[in-house]
């Protein structure tokens, strides 16, 4: 008799345990670092995960952090569901932010009811526009979108940098940041004296819309067919190219919206560091959320939570803020490693007994 590892889906209860297990393993793995900087690992864990939830002010701050992650996460998940590997969400976000700033700067004489829709639509369209060229190259010329969308991220970031060091340089401070957008273009607060803004509602609406499209519409079924099995989709008579183009542009638009939301909701002007890699974190969130809108929401909230927690930990325990980054990175790696375990099952069996689902090994 012996233990045996088999390639079978893990039991359902195990999948539910994965997030919790990942957190525990991560904190055990990183406790050495926490001890090394002279702090108590259990205390650190508390401030990371529980303190933000226990404190209403900090809980709202978690939602603020979650807002751009919801948008970039769902932008990536939507594209991936349709078989389009959009790695360019970061660049599309920057373009959305730039367009939103450009519009916001012109809105000083425009009422809010007009300025807000303009800024939202402008951000969406700018993200779409930035996604258009690689999407066309993919559909018409079969050029791998992973490479093109990724490289265009750097182009977008440098364009923003050029604008900020040129025409939009702040005339007073001389910092590379744009002048402030018009007050009418600023997203209204959802809760007074907090930073939670209209962008959060937008993100929730977009997530709900994506869920609806994926699960209730003919287009959703077609795009999933393309994503799962391109050849079968083509065989079924689905217009694969058109579907993929629409998916790519929508994903870019949602990414652009994330940029507009950060400008109009948080910063009120354009800066170089408008995104600390939200676009790339979006890929992680989409993957952790299994491309499912609900999963994406949970993953985005979770990352937002650790982000907030890492600030508290560094302030309260006096450890370097980078420790938060270490924890966050370790947690992602551990979670991804844990997800791998889903495909296996550990069984105790007697010698000679046949496996339950014995497929021939060729």
């Amino acid at each position: 008799m012996r233990w045996q590892i088999e390639r079978l889906p893990a039991p359902v209860w195990f999948r539910a345990v994965i997030p919790v297990l990942s957190i525990v393993v991560t904190f055990v793995l990183t406790s050495g670092f926490v001890l090394a900087v002279g702090a108590n690992p259990i205390e650190a864990a508390y401030y990371f995960l529980l303190d933000p939830l226990a404190n209403p002010v900090r809980l709202i701050e978690v939602l603020v952090k979650t807002t751009p992650l919801l948008l970039t996460g769902i932008a990536v998940a939507f594209a991936f569901s349709g078989g389009y590997w959009n790695i360019g969400v970061e660049g599309q976000l920057y373009m959305g932010a730039t367009a939103a700033t450009a519009i916001g700067l012109q809105m000083h004489d425009t009422p809010a009811w007009l300025a807000l829709p303009l800024i939202i639509v402008g951000g969406f369209l700018a993200g779409m526009a930035w996604a258009l060229v690689p999407a066309l190259m993919k559909v018409k010329l079969k050029i791998d979108e992973v490479v093109t969308t990724l490289l265009l991220n750097y182009v977008a970031i440098f364009i923003v940098s050029a604008i900020l060091n040129g025409p939009w340089r702040d005339p007073i401070s001389q910092w590379p940041q744009s002048p402030e957008i018009a007050a009418t273009a600023i997203f209204p607060r959802l809760i007074p004296r907090s930073r939670l803004h209209l962008g959060f509602i937008l993100a929730i609406v977009i997530i709900a819309l994506v869920w609806f499209v994926l699960n209730r519409t003919a287009f959703g079924m077609k795009m999933k067919a393309v994503g799962y099995n391109l050849e079968a989709a083509r065989f079924s008579g689905i217009r694969v190219d058109r579907t993929m183009l629409l998916v790519a542009l929508t994903s870019g638009g949602i990414a652009g919206l994330a940029g507009a939301s950060e400008v109009a909701g948080i910063h009120f002007h354009l800066i170089d560091a408008i995104s600390p890699g939200y676009g790339y974190t979006g890929i992680i969130i989409a993957t952790l959320g299994a491309l499912n809108p609900i999963g994406v929401s949970l993953a985005a909230f979770f990352i937002g939570l650790i982000d907030t927690g890492s600030q508290t930990v560094s302030r309260v325990l006096g450890v370097p803020a980078y420790l938060g980054d270490v924890l966050q990175a370790s947690l992602l790696l551990v979670t991804l490693a844990m997800l791998l375990l889903q495909g296996y099952r550990l069984t105790w069996r007697q010698r000679g007994q046949a496996p339950q689902d014995g497929r021939p090994v060729e």
């Binding site: 209730r216 003919a218 079924m221 989709a233 079924s236 008579g237």
Partner: protein, 502 residues
């Protein structure tokens, strides 16, 4: 056989099982020095499996291998090479940005520093010895398929092989290259080397080999000297069963009008080479036309053209009076065409449910203004599951279904649309007897209702069992188009091998 006394290789009672399939069933095989020995059989007869066992890629479940009369264990290609056995498979294992020499010495040298000049000289010497013309400094990716094959042969010889296993070596070659290959093989033979020539092309077997071992269904159907046999006898041994026990119903009786018409259709394969050459074919209502042929002779391309997936470069395609040349799949389906694809598992969406797969071709019927009518989809799926006796629920993921049930879903999806023309490719490949019979009966049922059916199959039994007419395709051309009544497997087998009878 008198010269069977001192074989180079002897394989005795080799058996190999893959799951439920017995690929080799107590196969005996022996190879003499200085002999070219054909291993002949249909697809799936077990030829390649037997040779992969000899080359150490598979291990036999039972049986014994002797090399020069000594029992050996061959558990990897490395030990096969050590015993002087080399294999050239259909898919070359070459590193394309590297030179011929670099490919040859890869994995055989651990000397540092690498003396490439000396290696080039060595390769040239081996090539000269066997009169193989190849430039050792040529980059693989600049070489033609025939030249690459020569590199593979050279690789085996460079590793001191004295037994060369060639797996369908002519399948990828043009006629001139075949001639060159044959002259090399004769050269080996004169030097006392042995060649195993895996093939299903009868005329090539007759031309180049000394002896033939015929496999059928994993068993040896016979061993004969090439000079004592003829293509007709080999075809019969290969295909088996001279008669068939199934009598088909008589034709539907109504007037037969041309439903699916191919007029001089020409197309290219994925490498841009002609795959179909001016193929003309007519399928009438109430008739099944069986398209027979050895795989890779253009059947896949015909199926893809009719699925609307592969462009026609020349010629026309009609469904009744409608020209559907290079039309979109949806337009083809709208014209009354139903398609059952060659590889069903590749043409369904495994991660989606049974119900979703049933409607994915016709989403316009199951959505209103883009919104899915989920109740209608469910009712439809349940109805089809009942009607076609599919063992699955509408919400099951498609990939969890067995082959038979999966094929039934594909069949149900097509037949529910009441197609007037059906293109069916390899519908029963890999299915068990019950599912096979079910599918064949459904096809006959459709025929009785007046559908025009083109059945593309590599299974000659299947073709002969259900067809009214039989067309044979060979190297992208229709070699024969005749009534099924009176056709014999020998005759069809010869045609499939590209030999015109008489």
């Amino acid at each position: 056989m008198s010269n069977d006394t001192n074989p180079v290789v002897t394989m005795r009672a080799i058996s190999k099982r893959f799951g439920a399939v017995l690929a080799n069933d107590r196969v005996d095989f022996s190879l003499q020095a200085g002999e070219i020995h054909a291993l002949l059989g249909e697809n799936g007869a077990g030829k390649t499996t037997l040779m992969r066992i000899l080359y150490g890629l598979y291990q036999a479940d039972e049986g014994e291998i002797q090399v020069h009369g000594r029992p050996v264990t061959i558990n990897s290609p490395k030990s096969a090479i050590h015993l002087g056995i080399g294999m050239v498979s259909q898919h070359f294992a070459l590193v394309s940005p590297h030179t011929v020499t670099e490919n040859l010495i890869l994995g055989t040298t651990s000397r540092l520093p690498l003396d490439l000049e000396q290696a080039h000289a060595e390769v040239s010497a081996v090539a000269d010895e066997f009169s193989i013309s190849i430039d050792p400094r040529a980059i693989i990716r600049d070489l033609s398929v025939g030249q690459r094959q020569r590199v593979e042969i050279l690789k085996a010889l460079h590793r001191k092989a004295r037994v060369l296993v060639m797996d369908e070596p002519t399948a990828v070659l043009i006629p001139q290259e075949v001639e060159q290959l044959f002259s090399s093989l004769r050269n080996f033979k004169d030097k006392g080397f042995s060649v195993v020539f895996i093939s299903h092309k009868l005329n090539e077997v007759m031309e180049i080999t000394d002896r033939v071992t015929v496999l059928r269904g994993g068993r040896v159907a016979g061993v004969v000297s090439t000079k004592d046999t003829n293509p007709t006898e080999l075809a019969r041994m290969m295909v088996g069963r001279p008669t068939f026990g199934v009598t088909r119903k008589v034709g539907a009786g109504q007037e037969q009008i041309p439903a699916l018409v191919l007029e001089q259709v020409t197309t290219l394969d994925n490498k841009g080479l002609p795959a179909l050459k001016e193929v003309s074919l007519v399928v009438r209502t109430g008739e099944i036309v069986g398209l027979a042929g050895v795989s890779g002779n253009g059947q896949t391309e015909i199926a893809e053209i009719l699925a609307g997936l592969r462009p026609v470069t020349q010629g026309r395609l009609r469904i009744f009076d409608r020209d559907v040349t290079n039309a979109h799949p949806q337009a083809m389906m709208a014209a009354g065409l139903g398609r059952i694809p060659e590889d069903s598992r590749a043409n369904i969406i495994g991660q989606m449910t049974v119900a979703e797969n049933m409607v994915v071709e016709r989403l316009d019927q199951f959505s209103r203004r883009g919104y899915l009518e989920r109740k209608a989809i469910r009712r439809y799926a349940e109805a089809l599951i009942t009607e076609y006796q599919i063992k699955a629920s509408p919400d099951d993921r498609m990939r969890t279904l067995s082959g038979g049930n999966l094929q039934k879903v594909v069949l149900a999806r097509v037949l529910a649309q009441k197609p007037k023309v059906l293109v069916v490719a390899q519908p029963t490949r890999g299915l068990d007897v019950a599912a096979t019979e079910y599918i064949r009966n459904k096809l006959l049922e459709q025929r009785a209702e007046g559908a025009a059916i083109l059945l593309i199959s590599e299974d000659l039994d299947e073709i002969m069992q259900v067809s009214d007419r039989i067309a044979v395709i060979y190297e992208g051309q229709i070699l024969a188009d005749r009534a099924a009544a009176g056709a014999t497997p020998e005759e069809l087998g010869l045609l499939m091998a590209g030999v015109h009878p008489g």
